[in-house]
């Protein structure tokens, strides 16, 4: 499709433009310098017909309907790299990309894989399409037993928001169990929502389903209100981001921390418990919604460094400049669509980076990542030796719990 100067629907660009003004800092889009940094830093910018900078150009030229017609916005994995490096501080991911996806979705133009994830969230409260009754099945065999608040109604210090992939994904359930064992070993008085918990909804929101996000957020909000706790912790950076930055806008306000922050605070208590050596060269991958979006860079590294035997190395893309695993903003549910367009996966790129620094282990702190990176180690030649481990798994291994 060629870009033409005559808009298909003349008023569309204006309506869309003004809808951005209603979003936080949305008006900053007018300060765009057309420097192209966003399109350059975007890991899929090279494949998009309209990378972010060009989208803004099309908006100004009042031919934004052509952006919507081209479906390249579904290549956006909401990693926030564009916004982080924008010299004009334009909220490109939060406002422009998300609004554009909303527009696509409202028009019913949504890739089939993503549609299934949305329908599953609507119906089952999780994008995987698993039975809500099985959400707490991972707790089987943990001692002392995990406190499920709907059953015990006991007040706790910490409400652990477990999240979708940590609850259901077969690769992630051992990590979730490991974290429960760490909490037990530290004597933390914690509880979970169990079968009542809903998806945090953040990735659905960033994939354009604002209404669905609000629905699940309200449901989680009602649950938070029902139980007594001092703070929320989660192993899921997407849930962390939602509860920290998005739920408060809906009036759901609770203190929340990522588990790496929570454990870092207890590092002195943790250190003597980590006796077993984990002899390995470890490269840490910064999850987008933990690092770049929410500024948590040091705690995960400090935890890894405290595990005896670990030698920490840095990947070429790190901290603010971290490279997305490809799972954000709906990417978890667009694998086929994005593969057709790009014939590569960001997780594969990342695995090559880990190989380049001769890492034995690629350490992660987000439930989207172990399955994605492990798949990539199977498709990249010579990557079979690279192990992908969640930080909680490595800590539990060293603690021998």
């Amino acid at each position: 499709m060629e870009i033409t100067l005559s808009p298909l629907s003349p008023s569309f660009s204006k309506t869309f433009f003004s809808s951005l003004y209603e979003l936080k800092d949305g008006e900053r889009i007018r300060t765009c310098l057309q420097c192209g940094t966003c399109s350059g830093v975007c890991p899929f910018g090279y494949i998009m017909k309209f990378p972010p900078g060009k989208m803004i150009g099309a908006l100004r030229a009042e031919i934004f309907d052509q952006v919507i017609k081209a479906d390249s916005v579904w290549m956006c994995i909401s990693c926030n790299a564009c916004a982080a490096f924008c010299p004009s501080n334009i909220p490109i991911t939060a406002a422009l990309m998300t609004r554009a996806k909303e527009e696509m979705l409202l028009a019913g133009n949504i890739p089939a894989e993503l549609q299934a994830a949305m329908e599953n969230t609507q119906r089952y409260g999780n994008p995987l399409g698993e039975s809500p009754r099985k959400r707490a099945d991972w707790t089987a065999g943990i001692h002392p037993e995990v406190n499920i608040l709907s059953k015990t109604r006991q007040p706790v210090d910490v409400l652990w928001f477990v999240g979708d992939y940590a609850s259901y994904h077969s690769r992630m359930q051992p990590v979730t169990k490991a974290f429960a064992k760490i909490l037990n070993a530290l004597g933390v008085k914690f509880g979970i929502l169990g079968t009542e918990e809903f998806s945090d909804g953040d990735s659905q929101r960033l994939a354009g389903e604002r209404g669905l996000f609000e629905m699940v957020a309200q449901k989680n909000g009602q649950l938070f209100k029902k139980y007594k706790f001092n703070e929320i912790i989660t192993t899921d950076p997407h849930a962390f981001n939602a509860i920290k930055n998005e739920y408060p806008l809906l009036g759901i306000k609770y203190p929340v921390r990522h588990y790496t922050q929570f454990l870092f605070e207890r590092l002195e208590q943790l250190k003597p418990l980590m006796k077993k050596e984990v002899k390995a060269k470890v490269a840490y991958h910064d999850p987008c919604y933990l690092g770049r979006v929410n500024g948590v860079f040091d705690e995960p590294r400090a935890l890894l460094a405290a595990i005896p035997g670990i030698e920490l190395v840095e990947l070429s893309h790190q901290r603010m400049n971290s490279l997305c695993c490809g799972g954000g903003g709906g990417g978890m549910w667009l694998d086929g669509f994005q593969w057709e367009k790009a014939h590569t996966r960001l997780s594969e790129w990342r695995v090559r980076e880990a190989m380049a620094v001769h890492a034995d282990i690629l350490a992660v702190a987000c439930p989207y990542e172990p399955p994605r990176f492990e798949d990539a180690t199977k498709t990249i030649e010579g990557a079979g030796q690279l192990k992908v481990r969640e930080i909680a798994e490595l800590i539990a291994e060293s603690m021998e719990v």
């Binding site: 409202l106 949504i110 209404g211």
Partner: protein, 253 residues
């Protein structure tokens, strides 16, 4: 053109199915219901026809948990009229359901009736042909595309082996939809919410169901777990030799 789509819910296989203490039916206490996939395609096909040639789409279903949500979602996709049959459907079968739909459709007098070609819980035949019989209309099943022209419809019916037949049917008719011309669309949750505030669901009371013609279940079984597989180990050559040995032993070689 008036298009009616009578649909039904089926047990959602995301939940494990259990048999009730009587041993002849599913335990409904944990049962979760979902739209029959083929009926979902029938709704989509009706909306596609409306978008193509205008008309009115009526979606009807019997009372069940989640029925309102499904009807509102259909309205958000483009359905014009929503009807819910109320009454005691707990012992219902497809014969009874088809009779209840027939009574409703005689009154509504649609030009075309689309319904899912089958459902995984059809024990006494699928709804479509029963409905056509009770209404005295022609029926074609396994339809995956159609064109309406005047008082006739040209349907594409799927056969085994990848064959497709094109046939012309006089309207009014009942069609069993195998697949809509495009997969059922997504409708944003905000749109469904909007519709919930504006659309109305008409309720029609079905006083007594006529269950005759259905089947009687004498016993329902869970699939049995058996250990009949043998894992053969060794190098490819050894495994091949062992397989040949087993086949000889069984007298197949």
């Amino acid at each position: 053109m008036k298009i009616a789509v009578p649909v039904k819910f089926v047990p959602d296989l995301v939940e494990e199915l259990t048999i009730d203490s009587g041993g002849t039916a599913l335990d409904t206490s944990w049962l979760r219901l979902i739209i029959n996939e083929f009926d979902d395609h029938a709704v989509e096909q009706a909306i596609l026809l409306k978008e193509r040639g205008g008309g009115q789409v009526i979606v009807a279903m019997s009372e069940a948990e989640g029925a309102d949500d499904f009807l509102f979602a259909s309205a958000a996709k483009g359905a014009d009229q929503l009807i819910k049959l109320t009454g005691d459907f707990s012992a219902s079968n497809n014969h009874a359901l088809a009779r209840a739909y027939a009574d409703l459709l005689k009154e509504l007098q649609p030009d075309l009736i689309l319904t899912g070609v089958q459902a995984h819980n059809d024990l006494d035949g699928s709804v479509g042909p029963l409905l056509a019989e009770y209404l005295g209309m022609p029926y074609v099943g396994y339809v995956s595309g159609l064109t309406v022209a005047g008082d006739k419809v040209t349907v594409r019916k799927e056969y085994a082996g990848g064959l497709i037949a094109e046939m012309e049917v006089n309207l009014p008719a009942v069609l069993g939809i195998q697949a809509a011309e495009q997969p059922p669309r997504y409708v944003a949750y905000s749109k469904i919410r909007q519709v919930m505030g504006t659309a109305k669901i008409e309720e029609r009371v079905v006083a007594d169901l006529d269950l005759s013609g259905g089947i009687t279940v004498s016993r329902m079984f869970q699939p049995e777990v058996a250990e009949r597989a043998t894992m053969i180990e060794g190098s490819p050559e050894e495994v091949a030799d062992k397989i040949i040995g087993i086949l000889k032993e069984l007298g197949t070689l």
